[in-house]
Symmetry: none
Subunit: 544 residues, 2 copies
């Protein structure tokens, strides 16, 4: 248990920058905004948003956050030191960072002499000047600076004196944090420990008369030796107070330190304070949310947050764990928002359902028969491949249905799709026909589209808009498809997620089928239905 | 580099026993035999084969190994101590172990008082007798004994004196190894370190007159805190000389310590001797072999052996790593049998393209006009939403095309798809028609499927298999779909990735279109084409 007196470790998330270097991961600006908001809710103090200037997407991302800022977290812009033999004020790259408008800026510079001469092709002296100038420039514009010492541990191993000089340059220029980076991921915990201790013990860490702010130490690790999390913990034990990492350990090559492992280790095992206890119970959901948004299959065996992390197989084991969870569980799964799973007979997650219902303003308790009914339906659907973590609107519809309160706006009778593609012709046509009933009246509509799902969506809207003119303001803002059992190839089950919006709210719905069109269509239909529900709830609220 | 003078660490593989507890993993006897042989080749000294008696499959496995024994490795039978208040010689469970015929036996017993009273429901005294009796029984039958101290670290934390007594019982009875197990996986490296040191420093570790064999210490860890590998290394640094783990870290919940990470860390980073240098270069292949046999997708981001472990993005980065690999690689990938991969992506420069071409055996230089042509085509396709970092086979086809060397196996003339879904009816039917030409001959084929892509795939194979019988061995092993510009909703562009295999190789192809079916189809078609290309290259190689 953490208390107010637990020493604080500052979390620094770089999912949106270093995490996006992960092979196979790509995100839109919308995706980045959704993830940033979720990290904000999770209580991560620093969120590295990207490198505006190097990447046009990141410029827009920072602008959008100026319009609609995060509640608690500091969004941080990331940038290298100025180029050799230039003037910081004249560097467009640095201008772009100022324009991004974040209070905090992370500057990374070279610690390893080899990189200065081989990659930057400049002198060791000039590199020190680059670090100093860049940090001073941002300080003079009122920014607070975190200094990332790239390749710190390799530099320290090869030329310790020079590596320490780079930190001195950063301190002199006014950096508030020095983050030691194991950029190549080749360092082991005992080496991290020794190096962090040395940095902290060096006189450069002692006050020189009370004028200068004494920077704190951070750690940034990669998983190339399977040591990212262990190295970060070793650094903390040696005195580091900031830990950089990514959700689910996403990152280049073998990934970055996984915050989903770091946070519970620091907070539950080592007694540090990172995020609120209640926020910690959202960790599993946050992990799955991010994996849905970036469209990568979650690691079922992930420590703490994986689906198998608290799975127990039959026999003695199960009865022992039910009598005394301590016998086979190193923490209580609920502390990180995960749950115990008895692999033979699935165990209840009734409290999850109740908690979820509460988020939709529905008060249920364990005695309500519908609560068990919802749980059963949920389990049944989940075994079919549904996953409601990122599809809360579909889950809400499911709850209303169980409570007998699902409004019927329309009924879908069926659909047909026809696609025709002639090789070499760019435009393939898709034709969709839908049949729906509204208030007992059957409507048949057809539409064309540049793809089968677009054609279906258009046909459905044509059929419904006369009854529900508010449909005109709905738009589909995102659409994702994932194949569930990859082994089955194209005959596998498909999960479609559709995000819809009405200009001021957004919601996500889900469909599952072996037929990719049926799955998509189901999600589109529920998206429209939920939008109509929100509209009618808003109207009802206005009347009262 | 390890030399004969490097201290030896004894590897103990439990993939075939603890590894098979992994959710989603199941193996036949044949699978187990194939894996055991591969581990033998890899030079693993101890291979835990299973628990004969508890599992009928394991009985047969040990019998088959008696017929056809391993070359170097010791196969080890695993078993618990006798039940409370029984006589070892009268226990059928222990008889089955003798029948299995292995020279070495691993006996696991309880170290944690809570488990003795809660799970075994017996007295602390009786548990000590169970450990002693069982080991003595096997010793009296000429077996050599490894003692696994289950729940060691929890027992040590809760009742240190009793935990140490259980080890004393094992030593007195003649165990040659004491393996400290973190069964629940909740321990951190500094705790492992302290506990191992204590055990080694205890007087029970000192000679009592030269009569008794002094056991050595082993470590068995689980990954529930993301610490399995770090904990094993911490134990080794504290004096343990045996490390237990599994290939790819397979195991219950979050898995066991991953030998594919442990071995290179111990051998390349810490200077211990585990397996031969040449065997180490087979590590990546062994990892992938085991994942194929157990039919689990390999972790692309796995340290050392993952496909992304030595992947490089971005121009400057790539030219730096080619000039001096040390700058961005913590070891040489070849040391573990992996290879550097130049990832082709948005940031690609000409040097990436050239490096990539080389990996396909195509020598280009900066002056070759086709090199620039490939780069241009690449950038053009990427701006349309193609992404080749995960679709190397499509990139290879693109290169062959630019070089005028793309073989035409077949030509697709067009396709049609028809889907019909009646709401409430579970099975939706999809009908696909394709028209292809092979050697100037047109073929029209139709097929049904449980989804439109499956129907297309089936129709295409029907059309081609008479010309290319090798198609019958191709399978689609994974299929992923991603919507590119989420803003456009269902009218957005779709990117499909298809992974195909022929039993010993895998390759990935890509398709992009606003029509999800056209994108999928394109990837399926290129997947078949690339498979045919591999086949014809293999045939050509055989002829020369």
């Amino acid at each position: 248990m953490t208390t107010n007196s637990s020493p604080q470790i500052w979390l620094y998330d770089t999912t949106l920058r270093d995490g996006t270097q992960c092979e196979g991961l790509s995100v839109s600006i919308e995706d980045k905004l959704r993830i940033a908001k979720r990290l904000d809710q999770l209580g991560i103090p620093f969120i590295e948003g990207g490198w505006p200037g190097a990447n046009p997407k990141d410029v827009q991302f920072f602008w959008q956050l100026q319009e609609d800022p995060l509640k608690q977290s500091e969004i941080v812009a990331f940038c290298s030191t100025r180029r050799p033999h230039t003037v910081a004020a004249a560097e467009p790259m640095l201008q772009a960072i100022l324009t991004a408008g974040s209070r905090w800026v992370t500057i990374f510079g070279k610690s390893w002499d080899l990189h200065v001469t081989e990659s930057l092709k400049t002198t060791l002296e000039e590199n020190l000047a680059m670090i100093r100038d860049t940090i001073e420039y941002f300080r003079s514009h009122g920014r607070r600076v975190i200094y990332d010492a790239e390749h710190w541990f390799d530099g320290y191993k090869h030329n310790r004196d020079y590596a320490l000089q780079t930190l001195e340059a950063a301190i002199a220029a006014g950096a508030e944090w020095l983050v030691l980076c194991d950029t190549n991921g080749g360092t082991l915990p005992h080496e991290v420990s020794e190096s962090v201790q040395t940095v902290i013990c060096q006189k450069l860490m002692t006050k020189d008369g009370g004028q200068k702010t004494i920077p704190q130490i951070g750690i940034h690790t990669h998983n190339d030796c399977d040591m990212a999390v262990a190295n970060a913990l070793a650094a903390v034990m040696a005195g580091a107070t900031m830990v950089q990492g990514t959700i689910n350990g996403y990152g280049e090559r073998c990934g970055n330190a996984n915050l989903c492992s770091l946070i519970p280790n620091l907070q539950l095992k080592m007694g540090y304070s990172c995020i609120g206890e209640h926020q910690l119970t959202q960790l599993t959901e946050a992990s799955r949310f991010v994996s849905e948004v970036v469209n990568l299959a979650p690691d079922e065996h992930a420590p703490f947050v994986g689906r198998s992390a608290f799975a127990h197989k039959g026999g003695v084991h199960v009865s022992a764990v039910e009598r005394n969870p301590l016998t086979y569980e190193h923490i209580q799964p609920e502390q990180v928002g995960n749950r115990r799973r008895i692999v033979i007979s699935e165990q209840s997650g009734l409290s999850n359902v109740l908690a979820k219902a509460r988020t939709f303003g529905i008060e249920l308790d364990k005695q309500t028969p519908q609560a068990r009914q919802i749980l059963q339906r949920l389990k049944q659907l989940e075994s079919q491949g549904y996953q409601f973590e990122a599809a809360e609107a579909s889950f809400a519809l499911l709850m209303y249905e169980a409570l007998g309160a699902r409004q019927e706006f329309f009924e879908v009778k069926g659909f047909q799709v026809h696609c025709d593609l002639v090789e070499g012709k760019e435009a393939s046509s898709a034709l969709a026909t839908v049949k729906v009933a509204v208030n007992g009246q059957n409507i048949l509509e057809a539409a064309e589209g540049n793809g089968p799902v677009a054609a279906l969506d258009t046909a459905l809207r044509k059929a419904l808009v006369n009854f529900y003119p508010q449909l005109a303001s709905f738009e589909l803002t995102d659409y994702k498809v994932r194949i569930l059992d990859g082994h089955a190839g194209t005959a596998a089950k498909t999960r479609a997620l559709v995000e819809s919006g009405n200009g001021y709210q957004r919601w996500t719905t889900i469909g599952v089928s072996t037929n990719i069109l049926a799955a998509s269509y189901q999600a589109v239909v529920e998206g429209l239905e939920y939008g109509l529900l929100l509209h009618s709830q808003a109207e009802a609220a206005l009347k009262t």
